[in-house]
């Protein structure tokens, strides 16, 4: 309820900011233009933040709905959702034949989506390459998503999974600092682990495991 009230209020702010610009743009000087731009950016950011926080809070107490999910279908849907950004970045994403696993579909979708969008985002190259790899271990499925992006210093490898921890300023990469915290929660809910192997400039590989027998 609170989040919906928050969001509606925010939408009112951004709607009127838009209207304000539409109607009064001709009489704005540079100062006015810049002030309004700050307001627009802040309210846009606040909307994203509220959305992410809403997901974060739901991941905690939402009753999990375990069901068989074909990851090939799930992944093709995610890539379809992201096709605009993939095209803009000229990214190449490859993945092997993936299994059908027992999981909470909404959460696992969120997990893959966050990790893939992260690897699209944290990039200064024009040809990002992402490989998604899958292995069946004894008790768990293990996946990793390997990219050739900007990489992460070793000292930050744990910190990035905490909520609101960001390594970059808004000017470099936009973000709320909730995405990877959500991933961690989802993996915890599936009795698995998530970690990263990376060093600066050399890309990053995000690993995660999900318990095979998540029925119980």
């Amino acid at each position: 309820m609170a989040s919906h009230d928050l969001k509606e209020t925010l939408r009112t702010i951004s709607s009127f900011t838009k209207l304000f610009r539409e109607e009064y743009q001709p009489v704005f000087d540079d100062n006015a233009n810049q002030y309004l731009e700050f307001i627009e950016n802040a309210s846009r950011r606040m909307i994203t933040l509220t959305d992410d926080l809403l997901i974060y809070s739901q991941l905690d107490n939402k009753s999990l709905n375990f069901q068989p999910v074909d990851l090939n279908i799930l992944l093709s849907e995610i890539l379809d959702d992201l096709r605009q950004r993939i095209k803009e970045k000229n990214a190449v994403i490859s993945y092997p034949d993936l299994p059908v696993i027992i999981c909470d579909m909404i959460q696992i979708r969120q997990l893959f989506q966050n990790l893939i969008s992260n690897s699209l985002k944290y990039h200064d190259d024009t040809h990002p390459i992402k490989d998604i790899v899958f292995e069946a271990l004894r008790t768990h499925y293990q996946f990793y998503i390997k990219d050739n992006g900007i990489g992460i210093e070793t000292k930050h490898h744990k910190k990035i999974f905490e909520v609101f921890k960001r390594l970059h300023g808004q000017n470099d990469f936009d973000g709320t600092g909730i995405g990877l915290a959500n991933c961690k929660r989802i993996v915890d809910n599936h009795k698995g682990n998530i970690w990263v192997k990376s060093s600066l400039v050399k890309g990053a590989t995000f690993y995660f495991t999900l318990l095979k027998n998540n029925n119980s």
């Binding site: 309820m1 989040s3 919906h4 969001k7 509606e8 939408r11 009112t12 709607s15 009127f16 209207l19 809403l54």
Partner: protein, 143 residues
């Protein structure tokens, strides 16, 4: 473009009503727009009761209806709506849903069989053009 004669906005938030009215005016799809601040006021308005007693205005053709409202909310309004004589009822009702109750309220809105569409607030011009076009193709062929 042919205009819709009369649009009724039902929402308790003055800023939302103001904005939605502005969008309708800017997209120029209606001759008249009126705002009501809850379901009860909307009923009074349509039936020309209460503070609208004896008033002389046309019936609304399209109603944009918020769900969360004081006094009488959107669903309570929809419960009362079939009791209004048919000739006073609007051709289309479009419901504003909020993110937090989206799935639950959407199912409930569909169940009433009275709701043409359910959307997020506030109104967007493109959406209004689509509605105006649909309205004319569906209800104004004879005109």
């Amino acid at each position: 473009m042919k205009k819709i004669n009369f649009i009724l906005l039902v929402d308790d938030s003055p800023s939302t009503n103001f904005f939605n009215k502005k969008m309708i005016e800017m997209s120029d799809i209606a001759h008249e727009v009126h705002e009501a601040y809850n379901g009860l006021e909307a009923l009074d308005y349509i039936c020309k009761k209460g503070k609208y007693k004896g008033a002389n205005f046309p019936k609304p053709n399209v109603i944009f209806l918020d769900i969360n409202m004081p006094l009488m909310d959107g669903f309570e309004f929809l419960e009362q709506y079939p009791k209004i004589p048919k000739e006073k009822r609007a051709e289309m009702i479009i419901v504003f849903l909020t993110t937090s109750n989206w799935c639950k309220d959407k199912a409930k809105a569909i169940d009433t069989n009275m709701v043409y569409d359910y959307i997020e607030k506030p109104l967007q011009k493109d959406y209004l053009f689509t509605i105006a076009e649909y309205y004319h193709s569906r209800f104004m062929i004879k005109a």
